[in-house]
Amino acid sequence: MLDYRLSDETESLRTTVREFAQEVIAPQIGEFYERDEFPTEIVRQMGELGLFGLPFPEEYGGGGGTYFDLCVALEELARVDSSMAITVEAGVSLGAMPIFRFGTEEQKREWLPRLCAGEALGAFGLTEAGGGSDAGSTRTTARLEDGHWVINGSKAFITNSGTDLTELVTVTAVTGDKPQGGKEISAIIVPSGTPGFSVGKRYSKVGWNASDTRELSFDDCRVPEENLVGQRGRGFAQFLSILDEGRIAISALSVGLAQGCVDESIKYAAEREAFGQPIGRNQAIQFMIADMEVRASTARLAYYRAAEKMLRGEPFRREASIAKLYSSEVAMDNARYATQVHGGYGFMNEFPVGRFYRDAKILEIGEGTSEVQRMLIARDLGVG
């Protein structure tokens, strides 16, 4: 059986998010981007649409949809703007998902309803200045003292960690040594405003400028022992287990950007005249746009394929890596060609493609670099 048509509900979601992105996000996001500002009101409205609760059950305030529904919504957001797409992606996959997957019933009841409604944002503090995907390099520590975790250290590149809506960060920290050697890493919820927990100023980034990314530091920050998420010593393993689905989400986001490049190029090719005719009459422009559409369409199939296997409960690690690798490179290619179609105006911030160009590069880096994906695919094929 082969059927990649969307269900009526998913199609309605796609249409709604598309309209929202075009009518609410598109007219104002450029200014937030220029000002390096997080658009709190837009994020609240995305919360009202239910985007932050899409894949979670209704009993925790979620929408009762699937992770694929989330991906479809991310694609439509990124088609217009990646900063808002990554804000939703991180809010769901990094803010709420660890609590939903590994949290206690009390933690779920306490945090998920507000996270699902988009009234609160959660962040995940894993990366440190010294290294990303390397668990052994974690330097932040948490020691147990009088029923409290006492956390010391710092975290780097943490999305959604310092917005007006942020209410918690789940932090990974070394909580001891494993019996077999190596560091024991655990995940701990730190509510915003906890004494000893400070949030740095926003990074100056190349792209995703309307999203919130900060450095965090912990100086004898004390939180109750029951803020441990999941098992002690499983903090990194737990994170790795939700990484694969996150790759499908980043793939969907990449496809959205790639498709947005097609949309903008079609529009511009029809409007812009040179030598007495629209530039879209030139075969050079036609071929560039046709190739962009081919890339966006095939990349979409790649993430649909990975999502389909995930929804069926089958192993999907290789497909997720393929989708993430391919679609992020497609996003980069399409951003380059879309900018070329726009000529000089592609270098001006008033056109969305300039934003797309700046937003594309991080897709080849975050959630596992292209090199990590190639390594995983080769390893899965038994090469080397």
């Binding site: 009526d8 309605s12 709604t16 239910g50 899409l54 929408g63």
Partner: protein, 259 residues
């Protein structure tokens, strides 16, 4: 407060729209069909009234099978249930005939208020509230930019070119709304998921006690005899500035009633 909102599916006014050369009716099959934009304001207003005063919002649609998409959108926004009048014989009906179908359907429903958009973006006749008011013997408060329901009375501000008229009428009444009245909500994902469980009843002409011969293109009171595409955009007006450019510019804007 039970409110029936009349919803029409129309070809998207934002994309290319065509008439079917076979019978000069709106070509719906190939069009990008959406809920009539103006109806979304009526739905929003009905939902706002319901949220404040309780009751139910029912969507009433006359249209082909594909009109279920428009119904689903209205239900996703928060309407409680829907009635869909669908019958092949209705194809090509004029506004007068359609109003008979809607009036017959309303005759089988309980309501305090009937609401609709001030116009449908396909034919833009804006006559349905008046036709229904006549058939049902109800007051019509058309072209509202503000609606207040107090006790058994509906008060509206009817939008005009120069301002508004304050009108009121006892319920039940028919109110049509312009797009100045509110900002329609987007369906939430929960709304979308809930919509599939909401009841949609379908009615044929026979269910409504109507004769198939009384509707449709053959007995319509008006027909499109001929049509032509919009002429291509002209060159525009070129004004040479001979020291009075500003005056000419203002004269042009005034002539177009822009200022």
């Amino acid at each position: 407060m039970n409110i029936v909102v009349l919803v029409k599916q129309v070809p998207d006014s934002g994309s290319e729209r065509k008439l079917d050369p076979a019978d000069n009716t709106v070509a719906r099959a190939a069009a990008d069909n959406v809920i009539n934009e103006m109806d979304e304001y009526a739905i929003e207003e009905a939902l706002t009234i319901k949220e404040a005063q309780g009751g139910e919002v029912t969507v009433l649609t006359v249209g082909p099978d594909s009109a279920t998409d428009a119904i689903r959108k209205a239900l996703s926004m928060g309407a409680d249930k829907a009635v869909h009048v669908v019958d092949d014989a209705i194809h090509g009906s004029c506004a007068v005939q359609t109003s008979a179908v809607i009036a017959a359907a309303l005759g089988q429903m309980e309501y305090d208020l009937v609401m609709c958009g001030a116009e449908a973006t396909d034919a833009q006749l804006s006559v349905m509230p008046a036709l229904l008011a006549e058939r049902l013997g109800l007051p019509q408060l058309s072209g509202a930019r503000k609606v207040t329901i107090e006790g058994g009375t509906a008060k509206v501000e009817r939008q005009t070119d120069g301002g508004f008229w304050a009108l009121e009428a006892p319920l039940p009444a028919i109110i049509s709304t312009w797009d100045t009245i509110n900002e329609p909500r987007y369906p939430s994902f929960k709304g979308i998921m809930a919509a599939k469980k909401k009841p949609v009843e379908t009615r044929s002409l026979a269910d409504l006690g109507l004769d198939a011969g009384s509707v449709g293109l053959a007995s319509a009171t008006s027909k499109v005899l001929d049509f032509a595409g919009r002429p291509p955009k002209g060159e525009g007006v070129k004004v040479t500035d001979e020291g009075d450019g500003a005056q000419k510019f203002v004269d042009y804007l005034a002539g177009q009633k822009i200022v």
